[in-house]
Point group: C2
Chain length 190, copies 2
DNA sequence: TCGATGAGTTCAGTATACTGAACGCAGTTT
DNA sequence: AAACTGCGTTCAGTATACTGAACTCATCGA
């Protein structure tokens, strides 16, 4: 963070995206309509407490109002010989699936970057026996269910499981979540 | 974020970790000593602008002062059959290396979670020809150099490269950085 | 044409964030 | 001891964040 935050712009953007009036947001946040108006037009330096109340009213993280807009995810390939970086992107039901692994390794394992919109879920059928999945949480929080077991994960957490039973990844929160996923196919399959 | 932030505690923790006096931090941040004292003891609701100035003075992200303490990274294993999750942890030169991949796949590939303290660097000799590395940035920003090529990466970015030449990962910033790394050994080696 | 409703803005008053200076309290020095 | 230095706290004054009410300007029916 090298520039002062642009709180007003962020609040206005989210509020109009949610189609809320100042009156409604005022009620939901407990911050006066007058103050909201002045904050949105950068006429005041709000206190942290006030911005926090607004974040609650908007159902977003405090940081979402203080940070600049989320940058897009990028894929680099630093070696000419690694040129076959797959950039496939699929979008469905609030989930963006980005294939990271090159085609050359599609038989042994696959790597994905999964972006979950708020409340999106990725439900999977059982894979081939012996298949394993490895998750690393890059952003937000997700809930993972494998058979009868469940885990709550947050940024930096790592999870591994056999996925020859039903398994699912949920984003319960109001924030987007990003998950790095490695699928390793059973050597038996090959 | 479901509870109001504990700014005072965070500032005090970082300030004393840095061994700074209120006078010094006041000079470096442009916030009066009196105000710093009152913020640290939760006697006031500081404005965002003030907290931002303090963050600059401490050389940390604004969010680091507003969020609760950074939770430790956790490793889960959701399936009894995947019980051999390695939890090896090595620390050297400001870098924590956590082995994520189970021993059963050590021949084909390895997965790590790397935590870089501010300004830490991980410099590697060339690996066996054909070896590839795949990086996903979980937190912070890092600079990666492979041979003559360099890339700046931030959270959510993904990078792949052949690592049969010299390669290095730097954390130039004042923030810790977390990187997920997959090393895939050349099939020829096996 | 004229209220009436509902949007965002402006106004005047009060609460409080913020400052520089004074203060109290250690540990050192003389 | 007394004087000094450097730490964090408290004080009194000023700037301003914040509020409820008044205001403006649309859009909508009668």
């Amino acid at each position: 963070m090298h520039t002062p935050p642009m709180i007003g712009k962020n609040i206005q953007r989210i509020r109009s995206a949610r189609k809320l009036t100042l009156n409604v947001l005022s009620e939901r946040s407990g911050v006066s309509k007058a103050m909201l108006s002045q904050i949105e037009s950068d006429k005041v330096n709000p206190t942290v407490a006030t911005v926090w109340k607004i974040a609650r009213g908007l159902n977003v993280e405090l940081n979402d109002l203080l940070e600049a807009d989320d940058e897009p995810k990028r894929i680099f390939s630093l070696n000419p010989a690694a040129e076959d970086a797959a950039k496939l992107e699929k979008k469905q039901d609030g989930i963006t699936i980005r294939v990271l692994s090159p085609l050359s390794m599609v038989e042994e394992l696959e790597m994905y970057l999964l972006t979950f919109e708020p409340h999106a879920a990725l439900v999977s059928e059982p894979h081939f026996p012996g298949t394993q999945e490895y998750l690393t949480i890059v952003k937000g929080t997700v809930k993972v269910t494998v058979g009868d077991n469940t885990a709550e994960l947050k940024r930096g957490d790592f999870l591994m499981y056999h996925c020859d039973t039903d398994h699912a990844i949920y984003n319960d929160s109001n924030q987007p979540a990003i998950v790095h996923m490695v699928v390793r196919f059973s050597p038996d399959r090959r």
